[in-house]
């Protein structure tokens, strides 16, 4: 067999495969975009799985790079990178959706808490002022004011994109505000009952 034939055989056998650098870059960008969307926070398990898959693909490329040039084959690596890009796209979509849901829930929780606090304040404003209730109402007013101030932390959390944090702050504010409203309504009922008893006594005396 001639030398030319041998050289041609070796080249055909080995090829001159190059590392798929553009695939690597586009895949890494896809994964970064997913992270930027918040995948680590909203879908941490899937984010970790994606990270592991990317590492495996990069490891495959390293493996091929270590081989002698004629024996390198990046087909498997390219398939793996394509798979990672596809999953990154899906994960980004899912993350955006989850984040949007969380945002809507946070805004709803904020609105509910705000309404409860306002209701408590309105009831306090209407509550009859009397010697027996003044101190209690003053205390409840202080509580309602504290809740009003705490609503700012909810808004700050929403602005920062910490929607879960916003919900965890808004929920107890609403509960406390509802409790204050219940106490004020009870106090109003008590005063009405006392006034009714007084006027009944007055009518009897007459």
């Amino acid at each position: 067999m001639t030398l030319t034939a041998w050289i041609l055989a070796i080249l055909a056998f080995g090829g001159c495969a190059k590392a798929p650098t553009s695939d690597i870059e586009s895949t890494q960008k896809a994964v970064e975009a997913t992270r930027a969307a918040g995948s680590a926070e909203y879908l941490p398990t899937e984010d970790k799985a994606l990270s592991d898959k990317l590492n495996a693909a990069l490891q495959e490329i390293k493996t091929q790079n270590e081989k002698m040039a004629p024996f390198r084959n990046y087909d498997q690596a390219q398939k793996m990178l394509a798979d990672v890009r596809q999953q990154a796209g899906q994960l980004q979509t899912a993350t955006t959706q989850k984040k949007e849901e969380a945002k809507q829930q946070a805004v709803a929780a904020q609105s509910a808490a705000s309404q409860s606090v306002q209701k408590a304040k309105d009831l306090l404003a209407q509550a009859p002022k009397g010697k027996g209730t003044e101190a209690d109402l003053a205390a409840l007013r202080a509580d309602a004011d504290a809740l009003g101030e705490s609503m700012q932390t909810v808004q700050q959390a929403i602005e920062k994109g910490d929607y879960r944090g916003a919900i965890s702050k808004a929920t107890p504010i609403k509960e406390k505000a509802d409790s204050i409203s219940a106490q004020v309504e009870q106090a109003i009922e008590k005063v009405k009952a006392a006034e009714a008893a007084k006027s009944k006594k007055g009518k009897k005396k007459k």
């Binding site: 001639t2 041998w6 970790k48 493996t63 270590e66 101190a135 004011d145 007084k198």
Partner: protein, 374 residues
């Protein structure tokens, strides 16, 4: 033609020599590829085991509970994987996985140890968080109960509300497995509860102070002595027990349950503080039906000389402290006065006169626990 034949002959020999030189290396390469099945198997299982351990560590929160050790483990895992890849890349005939296998087995064992350590730290953190949350919840509950009965300033109250909100968040964080956050939030809540606790304790500590007890007993004795000398009734108000007792000499004629100011357990120092004053006073005016909106009333001479000299710096000491009715008409607390039920007030009103002494004290019972005051 002979030269052409000679040149062709030389070239042919050269090609033959080169072909012979390259023949065996190529044959060996092909053989090597074929013989790779006879070499040691790559430690894929060991590598997968280390990978599984790494994933479990991540799930258990190793990044949170043992960040440095976890990072170190990840780096070792990456290095082991690279070594494996490097070996895989070699010509199969010369691949050697012995050391790599040993290293992976050791790494696996290290990973198991780290798993146990993380699990232990996680449990420890969980326990600490649970203790802190439970402890602060108990304090918050106590503060809530006590501040429903005792006066707490608006600023302390505000912080107590913030503490409640933080505790709710701590609860949620704990339920979701974020033990470090839960612990931290509970700790912050504990700090926010302190001002209210301090105010409540300051109020209640007055009732444990021996000097106060001695002074109060002395006032009661002076007032009873006046009753003995003048053969006339006197009134003793015990704030902790929330009673007004009518005495004739040393003999208690009747005990009336009372309500106090919204800050009644404290001593009155200024107008609007809601405290019920302490000292020896006298009835200076009797207000009958129609003369007061609280059924009937006995106006006393607060502030007296002692009050004026003691609280000289107070801008206004307030006044118009009465013993009056209305307690049974929803008057659960007053602005500093002493409230009785209307029928009790009727009874008392006819037994006392202008000039009747009234001693208002914290308590005379040195066994009074703060629970009685509450």
């Amino acid at each position: 033609m002979r030269a052409g034949k000679s040149a062709r002959g030389m070239s042919s020999s050269l090609w033959e020599a080169l072909s012979r030189a390259l023949f065996w290396p190529v044959i060996l390469m092909i053989l090597g590829a074929g013989l790779s099945g006879c070499n040691e198997t790559p430690p894929l299982q060991e590598l997968q085991q280390v990978e599984r351990i790494e994933k479990t560590l991540w799930k258990m929160g190793a990044k949170e509970f043992a960040p440095e050790a976890y990072l170190h483990y990840q780096e070792k895992f990456e290095a082991a994987r690279e070594n494996f890849s490097r070996e895989q890349a070699k010509w199969s005939v010369i691949q050697r996985y012995e050391k790599i296998r040993e290293h992976l087995v050791a790494l696996s064992s290290e990973g198991e140890d780290l798993l146990r350590s993380v699990s232990s730290k996680r449990n420890e953190t969980r326990e600490k968080a649970l203790q802190e949350v439970t402890s602060v919840e108990a304090i918050a509950e106590q503060t809530r109960e006590r501040s429903a009965k005792l006066f707490v300033t608006a600023s302390a109250r505000k912080k107590a509300v913030q503490a409640e909100l933080l505790l709710a968040q701590a609860h949620r964080a704990f339920t979701e497995g974020h033990y470090l956050s839960a612990h931290e939030q509970a700790k912050q809540a504990r700090l926010l509860l302190e001002p209210a606790e301090r105010e409540i304790d300051a109020t209640l500590d007055r009732y444990k102070d021996r000097k106060n007890l001695i002074r109060w007993r002395r006032w009661v004795e002076e007032t009873l002595a006046w009753s003995r000398r003048n053969a006339a009734p006197v009134m003793i108000v015990r704030k902790a027990e929330r009673t007004l007792t009518l005495y004739q000499g040393d003999h208690a004629i009747k005990v009336y349950p009372i309500n106090l100011g919204f800050n009644g357990l404290n001593e009155k120092r200024s107008v609007g503080d809601g405290a019920t004053p302490e000292g020896i006073y006298r009835v200076i005016l009797k207000k009958n039906l129609g003369e007061t909106k609280y059924h009937r009333a006995l106006l006393i001479n607060y502030p007296n000389e002692r009050d004026r000299s003691r609280y000289r710096r107070a801008k206004q000491l307030g006044g118009l402290i009465e013993v009056h009715g209305g307690r049974n008409e929803g008057l659960e607390e007053t602005l500093g006065c002493i409230a009785l039920d209307n029928d009790e007030m009727d009874d008392l009103f006819h037994r006392v006169s202008t000039g009747t002494p009234i001693a208002i004290v914290g308590t005379t019972n040195d066994l009074t626990s703060t629970d009685v005051a509450l």
